[in-house]
C-alpha cells in the first residue's frame, strides 16, 4: 500500500490527530459503524428466517408493477431499478457538493445539495408509491398475499421483514433529506463561508452515502436473492 504521507510519520506519538480526520467526521464514521450493525442485524435476521423456511416468495413475481402501467410490466424489477438509479445519482450529486465545498464554492455546494435533496425526495416518493401499491395488493405487516415460489402457502415473515427493513431504510433517507435541507439553508445563509470550511457538508455526505450503501444491500437481499 503506497502512502504519500511523510516517511516515518508517527501518528500515535502525540501532537497530531492519529486518524488525520476532523473530530466530527470521525464520530460520524463511528456512528455509521453502529448503524451498519443495526442494519446488519436486521438483514441477517431476515436471512436467518429465510434460511429456516422451506420456501419463500419470488421477488421477480412480487415486484413487477410500475406507476402508470396497468397490470404487470413485461419485465420484473423495473421500478426498483429506477429507485436504485435515483439513489446512486443522488449520491453522485452529494460528492459533487462535497467537492465544491473543498473548493469553497458556495454556489456549487448549494446547487448540488439542492439536487441531492431532489433525489432523496424522488426516492421517498417512489417508496411511498411502492408501499401503497403493495398495501392495495394486500401486503402489510401481518398480511402476505403472495405465494411461495413453489406455489405453497407463504408466511407473513416476507412482508414483515420487507416493510420493516425498507421502512427503516426509508426513515434514514427521510432523516438524510432533513439533514441535507438544513445544510442547504446553512450554506445559503453563508454559515460555512464564515467558518472558512464546508466540513459539515462532508459529514452530511458521509451519512447520505451510507444510506445509499445500505440500499445496495437491501436491494440485493430483497429484490435479487
Amino acid at each position: 500500500m503506497a502512502q504519500a504521507i511523510p516517511a516515518g510519520q508517527k501518528w500515535w506519538s502525540g501532537g497530531k490527530s492519529p486518524y488525520n480526520v476532523e473530530y466530527g467526521k470521525l464520530m460520524m464514521w463511528f456512528f455509521l459503524m453502529s448503524d451498519a450493525f443495526t442494519f446488519g442485524a436486521f438483514l441477517i435476521s431476515y436471512g436467518t428466517i429465510r434460511f429456516s423456511s422451506n420456501s419463500w416468495p419470488d421477488p421477480n413475481a412480487v415486484f413487477r408493477s410500475f406507476p402508470g402501467v396497468r397490470g404487470e410490466m413485461p419485465v420484473p424489477l423495473a421500478f426498483v431499478s429506477l429507485m436504485t438509479f435515483i439513489l446512486i445519482m443522488s449520491s453522485v450529486t452529494m460528492v459533487l457538493a462535497v467537492a465544491n465545498g473543498h473548493a469553497n464554492n458556495k454556489y456549487g455546494v448549494a446547487k448540488w445539495m439542492g439536487w441531492t435533496i431532489v433525489g432523496g425526495l424522488a426516492f421517498l416518493s417512489c417508496q411511498a408509491w411502492e408501499w401503497t401499491h403493495l398495501y392495495h395488493e394486500g401486503a402489510w405487516w401481518g398480511r402476505n398475499p403472495f405465494l411461495n415460489i413453489d406455489g405453497t402457502q407463504s408466511s407473513t415473515n416476507f412482508s414483515n421483514f420487507f416493510f420493516t427493513i425498507t421502512g427503516f431504510h426509508g426513515f434514514h433517507v427521510f432523516s438524510g433529506v432533513v439533514i441535507n435541507i438544513i445544510m442547504l439553508i446553512m450554506t445559503l445563509k453563508g454559515t460555512f463561508e464564515q467558518r472558512g470550511h464546508y466540513l459539515m457538508i462532508e459529514k452530511a455526505g458521509l451519512y447520505w452515502h451510507f444510506v445509499d450503501l445500505v440500499w445496495v444491500f437491501v436491494f440485493t437481499c430483497f429484490y435479487l436473492f
Binding site: Q3, N54, G138, R143
Partner: protein, 141 residues
C-alpha cells in the same frame, strides 16, 4: 485499497481536491454493476433452466460478489475512505470483520432449524409442501 493517498491537510478540509472525473467513473461502475445484476435476475426469471436450484445458487454467489464490489466503491470513493490514512481504514475495517462470523453463524443456524423441524415435525413439513391457490387482492382474510 491500493490507491491510498493520505494527505495531512485533509484534517482541515483543504489542499485535497476531488477529482470530478473519478466521481463519474465510480458512478459508471456502480451503474454498470447494477444493470448487470438486473440482467442476471431478469434472465433467470425469463429463461427456464432444467437445474434451477444450482443456477440460483451460482447467481446468488455472483450477486454477493457484485454487491460487495459496489459497497467497496461507495465506501472507498464516495465516502472517501480509500483516501484516508491506514489508521482510520483499519479502525473501521476490523470491527466489520465481525460480519463474517455474524452472517455465517446465523444463516447456518436458520438452515439447521429448518432441517431439525422438517425431521421432527412431519406435519409442519407436509403443510409447507402443500400447493395452495393464490388469494385475490382484497379478498377476505
Amino acid at each position: 485499497m491500493e490507491h491510498i493517498q493520505a494527505n495531512p491537510a485533509v484534517a482541515h478540509g483543504q489542499g485535497q481536491n476531488f477529482d470530478t472525473k473519478a466521481i463519474w467513473r465510480t458512478f459508471r461502475i456502480l451503474l454498470i454493476i447494477t444493470v448487470v445484476e438486473l440482467i442476471l435476475a431478469i434472465g433467470y426469471y425469463e429463461i427456464d433452466f432444467s437445474n434451477k436450484h444450482f443456477v440460483k445458487h451460482v447467481l446468488n454467489g455472483i450477486f454477493v460478489i457484485l454487491t460487495l464490489t459496489k459497497a467497496f466503491y461507495i465506501i472507498a470513493e464516495f465516502m472517501h475512505l480509500g483516501h484516508e490514512i491506514k489508521n482510520l481504514i483499519l479502525t473501521l475495517a476490523m470491527p466489520s470483520l465481525l460480519f463474517i462470523w455474524f452472517i455465517i453463524a446465523f444463516l447456518w443456524d436458520g438452515n439447521s432449524y429448518k432441517n431439525l423441524r422438517n425431521n421432527y415435525d412431519p406435519y409442519q413439513k407436509e403443510q409447507s409442501l402443500k400447493k395452495v391457490e393464490a388469494k385475490k387482492p382484497g379478498a377476505a382474510e
